[in-house]
Subunit: 342 residues, 4 copies
């Protein structure tokens, strides 16, 4: 930690501050410039709250030297984390392809989609049972019944399932039935939920909040990891900006940046990011070209009849074509989609 002292500060006050800092257990090394004094704090600075020190009237600013995330930090874990989930390796050479409808609507629907996306190369089935909706008057998902239908689809196809948890009350059911528990963008900083998830050993995919920085996303991962659950996947799904032509702005530069900051796998969701089915293909291809470990795509057999977000769903036919192209892009960097031969 580096303390930049306000210009013209009295010597006595600088010495008092130095003493106070040393009382907190760090050693203080001082640099005197022509018109600025800098204090470098050496040792364990974890007991020091920078905001408190900034309140000292001779302190101009504090600069943190270390990132606040530890377990998620690539510095302390240089190799990529590759998670084994229900027989799939997430984060390795094989792309993770999560596909399925926005909402589970019926046994027939989820089963048909599961079979089609599986045939095209998907490695996980997604489907919403509990849906976060801006309006209390909108369809809120089938709830536990939806979860039951996902289980049936898993049993019949073997595809492991990914679905969103909204209420801690159902955590036991999710732990039992779900392969990757998804934390939605709106709950990324629902710390009560994150703490509960930190105590289980289930894979957790955290979607970046609409206005969350990458550091905050990693701090959400850190909440889960701090409790002992290292099975965390990150998902970028579009951020909120001033642009209104697209629903959100898909931040693909997050892919290389997250890869530098952390060892955790990074998945991109082009469906929610764009909100438009015809933008899913270009953005899915771009995501893989940028180095994402996988994509999550909404697929619906009859998008105009979908109960939720049909506008962003693609048909199984389009999904099959997308898989072919994504595989070709992945191969340029030595990655691929399972079961695809060039």
């Amino acid at each position: 930690m580096v303390v930049i002292v306000r210009q013209g500060a009295e010597e006595a006050k600088i010495q008092k501050l130095t003493q106070d800092l040393e009382n907190l257990g760090v050693s203080v090394q001082r640099i005197d410039g022509s018109d600025t004094t800098i204090l470098g704090l050496v040792g364990d600075t974890s007991a020091i709250n920078p905001a408190q020190i900034e309140m000292n009237d001779i302190v101009e600013r504090i600069t943190r030297v270390q990132e606040p995330y530890k377990k998620a930090n690539r510095k302390f874990h240089p190799d990529d984390s590759i998670l084994e989930i229900a027989g799939n390796m997430v984060g390795g050479k094989e792309l993770t392809i999560i596909a399925g409808p926005c909402s589970v609507e019926s046994e027939e629907q989820i089963l048909n989609v599961a079979r089609e996306v599986q045939a095209a190369g998907a490695t996980f089935l997604r489907g919403g049972a509990f849906k976060p909706r801006t309006s209390p008057y909108a369809f809120q998902g089938m709830g536990l019944e939806g979860l039951d239908l996902l289980k049936i689809a898993k049993r019949k196809t073997g595809l492991p399932i990914v679905t969103e948890i909204m209420d801690v009350a159902y955590l036991d059911r999710f732990i039992e039935d779900v392969d990757i528990i998804q934390v939605g963008a709106r709950n990324m900083q629902n710390f009560a939920l994150l703490k509960q998830l930190s105590h289980c050993n289930k894979a957790v995919m955290i979607k970046r909040g609409l206005s969350s920085t990458l550091e905050e996303l990693l701090m959400a991962a850190e909440y889960v990891m701090a409790g002992g659950n290292n099975r965390v996947i990150l998902c970028e799904r579009g951020i909120r900006t001033f642009e209104t032509a697209t629903r959100n702005t898909l931040d693909l530069s997050a892919v290389p940046m997250l890869k530098k900051m952390t060892h955790l796998p990074v998945i991109i969701d082009p469906s929610h990011a764009t909100g438009q089915w015809w933008m899913v293909e270009p953005m899915a291809k771009a995501a893989v070209a940028a180095g994402a470990d996988g994509i999550m795509v909404e697929v619906h057999p009859n998008p105009p009849a979908a109960l939720c977000d049909g506008a962003q769903s693609i048909t199984p036919e389009k999904f099959t074509e997308l898989m072919r192209k994504v595989d070709a892009i992945a191969r340029i960097e030595g990655r691929s989609i399972r079961g695809k031969a060039q």
Copy 2:
């Protein structure tokens, strides 16, 4: 709802769409322009999902005519809502002044602050028992013990209390002990929590999410009201923008805009918005000048020693001076702080 048809659409498709819309129970009125056709939907459009209709390939765009919030909408409730809470009228001529420390730290601390802010004109005591912190390694609040200390302070001073709920698990305790249950910015779209709060009859103050639109804030209020709880207060606490010189950007234009959109009371939190104690006074004064129904201010007897957010806390002395100035501004529009005589 107005459907704008894509230029050059075939007549047969327009007629098919018209038929489909009428099958949904609305009457369709058609306007043919020189190169555009518009369909106006008359009747109950609540069964119509605009996103689905936009998927029709002859549809250019849909325009909503009505706001999605009903119970929070001023159109259907032209008069200001004035809530009676523990003897205080929130939303009326008398400003609501919520003050206290960021975190409850000890009985002595909360009791002293309570007495000082009460003497200066505060009508509610605030204090965090459960604290939402970006880092799992930061102080998370005293929890239920903090709630107990708030109760003691209330009993000894008579000041009703405002504190944040983070976990539905403690809802019963909050309903019993707290006068205004605060939903934090990070939980504004925690729909599971909002639904639980909709079933009680306790006043709920919802803080605007860091990147939530005013419409989304009203939809969060609608979640609570839809379940039968009309005792909702809105709080603007700064939004996230590109500017980094200030912690957040306090959106004071939200005050007149919310006053136009809704009948619910609007409170401003200048402490969290700015993150700097020396900006609290100018922004608190500006909030009241803009027409806010009240302010929420962090006050701490010894800010540099605060366990949380000391940098944004003002001393009781500064708070007393602030109350004097805020009262003077309020009087220009016929409002005032209780117990202040000009």
Copy 3:
């Protein structure tokens, strides 16, 4: 244009408004819903200023039916614009590759870079002669001398040149010497400059402003086209968001969206967007995967010694490798880089 009338408006006022609108030369068709009245304006609405009509106290809102950009609009020009510039076709099957140093620094530097990027597949040479710098104390470019050096490099290599104009005073020199005149992000709405450029027949590449919407970018293009110059290229170079880990947020969803809105070619600049050399490769690949017509990349023989923005420049070696990968991605959709054989 659709006028949504405020609920409960008096019939007399609606009729008065209808009369006023018809006096402006349009025909008004009225739709009466259960509690809303809508007026559809048919005919030439170009004389109508929506903001003025919204001031009428019975008007709730106006909805535009048509886009404000005409010449840039794909609706009126369904085929892609392919511009022939100094023997290169910009916007067609062959990717446009613009490469070179941030700033022209010396004859040797610009000539060496030109030769290296040309050998690797570049079709245009870029290099800043006049540099827009946030600080008046920073290096402002070599000015006209830089322009002279670019001309020498062009003469010796045959590579046409792209460089930024900052001052209308030099327009004649730019028209004479430059193949694509670049309008920087900060000047995207410098309307005096855009008007001057509309009167020449030189290709103009307009960079999107840091906080400009895609519609505003197209309106800037429209300024140039309205004066008779249809040779316009659009360039996305990152937008400003709340995220601070990356310098800007490269908005790749702009690629498919612009392709829908307009017929003009779209170039991506991953160097300025990210500000980091190691992010250039992944984002350049993603740009091409998303369907961009080309990329603009900063290349410097010795980035740490660059006078400007060295941190975002890649070496000629890395550029050569990048070209190989970008070509492979382009071929998946039937495009390629000139001179590359798979």
Copy 4:
């Protein structure tokens, strides 16, 4: 400047970097922590380009110790700058009130408005002669004829005038006729224009760009001041955020923050910020309560007939009432509007 060395860097490389830095003319002081090394640079660091040093592969990050703005910096000019402009003191105890129509439309219009706003307390007349419009097809202002009409209004009322320059070509006319030359938000980083303005001795009011940080606004001021013109006024007019309910987000926290960063006067424009006449009064009052040195307000005798931005103009009657209230708020801090007696 503080250089934070990457963890685990080789000692030889640290010594090489130290040597390189010292060769640039600074003295390097080194702090070795448990796992981090920090280099503090002492002396004149102006020859050092931080971005270059960050490219060194053992450098983690650079922290600037000093602000990049010098002449605009309050540190080097602790007292408020009070500018004498045509007999008015801008930045002192008396509020600066700039009022008038968005566009000059006719002699009668500008003269009538001038007289009305003068009677109500305005100290400057504003009026657009050259208008920056997003669309090339919209009214672009009366141009030089508008400037002539402003001069007539000035001659007849004595009110000094404020108007926007868009094209350097007219600079001589502006210097001769205008009292405060306004640089619009879209031209805030039109460095060619700023440089020209730095060579005259005319007061310049710079409006903050829609997505410009406060530091960038001060750097724009620095461009003017670096050339020798210290007569600079800053104007906040709303920033671009994700919120769409309001046209822009008026950033009033910019007032206290700018007052801390700089000694220059700060004016608020609530008309452009909100785009709605009924929001002008609350935001103007809030601006003055926050400590602004003045406000700029659009006033039009018949807003619905205005050729430009009528929706955000208030009538002279409303302006008169606004002046009364603003004066009352100003008096709480010992300021006032000229000619108003309490």
